[in-house]
């Protein structure tokens, strides 16, 4: 499922809303999560999962082709941990049941 399909499904389930409103709602939700991560804040959506930012310290790396040492500067990587309820649903005996 891609974002436009997500929007289409939500429009179908909420016939009283305009498609452009649903587009803004979906956009706002992902924008809020992204903005929080860019502020180094954690986003915790109980049952669904939690987004956080992990710091990768600067290190000396090596160019695998030449063996030359290179400086790799500090980086920040977004991380997602699956929520407990979702992890359990993924592993139900009959995952295709609603």
């Amino acid at each position: 499922m891609i974002k436009s399909e997500l929007i289409a499904r939500l429009v179908e389930a909420n016939p009283h809303l305009y498609q452009r409103d649903v587009e803004r709602i979906v956009g706002t939700v992902f924008e809020e999560i992204s903005a929080a991560l860019a502020r180094n804040e954690r986003v915790e959506l109980r049952g669904f999962g939690a987004f956080s930012v992990k710091r990768r310290p600067a290190r000396l790396g090596r160019n695998p082709r030449t063996g030359e040492q290179v400086h790799v500067s500090e980086k920040f990587a977004p991380y997602y941990k699956t929520g407990k309820a979702l992890r359990e649903r993924l592993n139900r005996k009959k995952p295709h049941a609603v």
Binding site: M1, I2, K3, L6, R9, L10, A13, N14, D21, V22, R24, I25, V26, T28, V29, F30, E31, E32, I33, S34, A36, L37, A38, R39, N40, E41, R42, V43, E44, L45, R46, G47, F48, G49, F51, V53, S73, E74, K75, F76, A77, P78, Y79, Y80, T82, L86, R87, R89, L90, N91, R92, P95, H96, V98
Partner: protein
């Protein structure tokens, strides 16, 4: 940096401010988004949100693990796990904001 945690209530508030639905309906829509994504993943379908990232369902096979405390061998059964791959746009945004350079 005060590291607060953003929750469903914050997402609902943003939708309320941005779109002008009622607070209740804003919260319902946030829930509906999470529920559609979860449903897709549970049915085995990956979810890709452009400029945010992809949620991928992966099958892990059986393997023999070890209880690190007792050293005892245990069989880890096949299971499905999620991995999240952030889009380049999101990675760049986080890095330019937190490292102070782009």
């Amino acid at each position: 940096m005060a590291n607060r945690t953003v929750t469903r209530a914050d997402l609902a508030e943003a939708v309320y401010q941005e779109v002008g639905l009622s607070r209740n309906e804003s919260a319902d829509l946030v829930e509906a988004i999470l529920s559609e994504i979860s449903g897709s993943l549970v049915s085995g379908e990956n979810v890709k949100i452009s400029s945010f990232g992809s949620f991928l369902v992966r099958d892990k096979g059986r393997r023999i693990g070890r209880n690190p405390k007792t050293g005892e061998e245990v069989s880890i059964e096949p299971r499905r796990v999620l991995s999240f791959r952030a889009s380049q746009v999101l990675k760049d945004r986080i890095n330019s904001s937190l490292t102070g350079g782009s």
